[in-house]
């Protein structure tokens, strides 16, 4: 077993035994379909949806490859505007999720071991039923005849402000986005916080650091990988979300997800839908890359 000469090859074998299966699976079910989609973005839409043929017998029909979908995207600002709006919405959702999830994750991590798993389970439990149900519940809570709306509007009335509609507004969309993604922030944060060595905090306390200093100097810097993982798990899915703006949004709430969904399910314009998806993915990768670079610097500082 401990034979020196076999160690390198054994290590290599282990390396491929561990990384091989997931890599193969993902190459087959992500890379290959992804390539098909990239190719689709350079084609013409089919007359009835789908894709126009690459080669058609009839020279009259549209065929072959083209850059027209990309030209169409960049021909004016309207689509870029949708992108920017969605990025802001996703950013806001991520920040609110972080603000809500951090104390919760910390509370769980600082609880006695016995109760931690129960507390984590309590975070996940609401999501074992379908999220559309939760969204529907928010429609009831934010509706004009709900207790919340009436209380709020009653207060506004006291100050002489006209009543507001909570439902069908960007506010409602934001609330639901936060609701649907909160556990994805709590779980990685908790996983990170849970394994912090309490001795570090003890040491800091013994050195005279107060609770706030202990948090900022010890806990927070150490939790950065968790924050990063959680933010990625929230930020990215929000960008592809379309059901929430559709159900809770007002007349102006359109995110990239809605736009893409519409290309595939409404307009039947697959090439343009593929183009939008690819540009969105590029934007996401760019942001993640930026975050990694900035995060890396922050980590070194800590």
């Amino acid at each position: 077993m401990g034979n020196k000469t076999t160690i390198p090859s054994a290590t290599r074998l282990t390396k491929w035994l561990v990384s091989g299966p997931p890599l193969l699976f993902l190459l087959l079910l992500v890379a290959a379909p992804g390539m098909i989609t990239v190719l689709a973005s350079f084609r013409y839409p089919g007359e009835f949806g789908g894709l126009a043929p690459l080669v058609a017998a009839d020279p009259q029909t549209l065929q072959g490859v083209t850059l027209e979908t990309y030209r169409f995207f960049f021909s004016d600002f309207i689509y870029a505007e949708v992108f920017v709006k969605s990025l802001f919405m996703a950013l806001a959702t991520t920040l609110i999720c972080l603000l809500m999830a951090y104390p919760l994750a910390l509370l769980i991590a600082h609880s006695p071991k016995k109760s931690r798993n129960l507390m984590v389970l309590l975070v996940v439990l609401p999501f074992t039923s379908n999220f559309l149900i939760g969204i529907y519940a928010w429609m009831i809570i934010l509706g004009p005849q709900s207790a919340l709306s009436q209380m709020l509007n009653g207060m506004l009335h006291l100050f002489g402000i006209a009543p507001v509609h909570l439902l069908f507004s960007p506010f409602a969309v934001l609330v639901a986005l936060v609701y649907a993604h909160l556990p994805f922030m709590v779980l990685p944060l908790y996983t990170n916080l849970e394994k912090h060595d309490p001795a570090l905090l003890d040491a800091a306390q013994d050195l005279g650091a107060n609770a706030w200093q202990r948090f900022w100097r010890v806990t927070f810097p150490l939790s950065q990988p968790g924050i990063f993982a959680g933010s990625a798990l929230v930020f990215i899915p929000v960008l592809g979300m379309f059901a929430i703006p559709e159900l809770l949004g007002g007349t102006g709430d359109m995110l990239v997800g809605n736009l893409i969904k519409e290309q595939f399910l409404g307009t039947r314009d697959w090439p343009f839908g593929s183009t939008l998806s690819i540009l969105l993915t590029v934007a996401v990768l760019l942001i993640v890359w930026l975050a990694v670079r900035l995060g890396g610097r922050g980590g070194r500082y800590a």
Partner: protein, 351 residues
């Protein structure tokens, strides 16, 4: 312990009798009683899949979904499927009851001579309103102006929803401007866009689903919606003893009529059962059950006698001759038009 249960559950879905009819239908678009009767009659099972949108159904078929014997698309989707050569021609010798259908709904532009389609039911896209509120505010409901004109909308701010459908909303705007619902001139589309953008600040939402409930509860007072949905909202409001009615009105400028027809998909393995089902649905009693259930319009003349009188006399379900001429069926758009419309829609949402 858990695993065997799960496997059992898996097999519930797959333990099928040999004779199965696969029906790809709108959600809640056939009565359970009707299905049960057909199953006894043919000694077979009906398996339904549902869609809530023609585009959804077309997208799924375009992506290669197969195995459906029977589909119930709207006219423009029938047109698209016919042109894709995705349908199986009907064998009319197996459909002796075809003459139960009102000739007004046969031989349509999307399927001349009914080679592929048999009318099933129709809905109108019109104005639905809370009778008490609109009377109070004294807003005329015989015109699309109620939906589009700021002078009316000022009194209704935040109480109006319109359909979240590019084609339907554009059609309503085009109708109000005096054009055809099928107008494809880009300048007219832009005019319609401006009309919509002007009215948009007063609307609560673009909504395709929950307006039924919002109408019933009394949060929303005026909608651009489907006749069957408005019918449902009215029934719910009556059952909940709301003290107001939800009424549908056909605007004088005209409206969209969506005729849903039964068609045979090429991939369906059981055209024999599909034909039997179509002929079964042509029987007045069976056809009437749907109308009594959801308040849809019924093209079947034999069905009239079985329809509840309140529905039969509702002009928004069975429009009279003068109104019928103002109704239009939507045609399919080509790929260029679809892309232009999608761009206009994005502009509408963002402005």
């Amino acid at each position: 312990m858990i695993r065997p249960i799960l496997f059992l559950l898996l097999f519930i879905g797959h333990a099928q009798a040999a004779d199965v009819l696969h029906l790809y239908n709108w959600n809640n678009y056939i009565s359970d009683v009707t299905i049960a009767r057909f199953e006894t009659q043919c000694a077979c099972r009906v398996v339904q899949d549902y869609y809530s949108d023609n585009e959804e159904m077309l997208a799924k078929l375009a992506a290669g979904a197969t195995g459906y014997d029977l589909i119930v698309p709207t006219g423009n989707a029938v047109e698209s499927l016919v042109r894709q050569r995705a349908l199986r021609p009907l064998d009319k010798s197996q459909l002796p009851k075809l003459n139960n259908i009102d000739p007004a709904y046969l031989n349509t532009a999307f399927d001349p001579g009914n080679k592929y389609s048999v009318p099933y039911a129709y809905t109108l896209t019109l104005i639905g309103y809370n009778s008490a509120r609109l009377r109070e505010l004294n807003i005329p409901v015989d015109s699309w102006a109620a939906i589009f004109e700021p002078r009316h909308l000022e009194k209704l701010k935040g109480r109006v929803t319109v359909l979240d459908s590019q084609r339907e909303l554009l059609a309503a705007a085009l109708k109000y401007l005096g054009y055809s619902a099928n107008d494809t001139i880009e300048a007219h589309w832009k005019q319609a866009r401006d009309l919509i953008v002007r009215a948009k600040p007063y609307w609560a939402a673009f909504n395709a689903s929950s307006y039924i409930k919002e109408l019933t509860v009394g949060n929303i007072w005026l909608v651009h919606g489907y006749s069957s949905d408005i019918f449902q909202a009215d029934i719910d409001a009556q059952n909940a003893q709301r003290g107001f009615r939800i009424v549908a009105a056909i605007p004088k400028e005209g409206a969209v009529l969506a005729l849903d027809s039964m068609v045979l998909h090429k991939s369906g393995p059981r055209p024999d059962l599909a034909h039997r089902f179509i002929d079964f649905m042509l029987e007045g009693r069976n056809a009437a059950e749907l109308t009594n259930l959801i308040g849809s319009g019924n093209p079947n003349l034999d069905a009239r006698q079985y329809i509840q009188p309140e529905i039969a006399q509702n002009p928004a379900v069975f429009p009279d001759k003068t109104q019928q001429v103002k109704l239009e069926m939507l045609r399919d758009l080509d790929r260029h038009q679809r892309r232009v419309l999608s761009r206009i829609w994005t502009e509408i949402k963002l402005r």
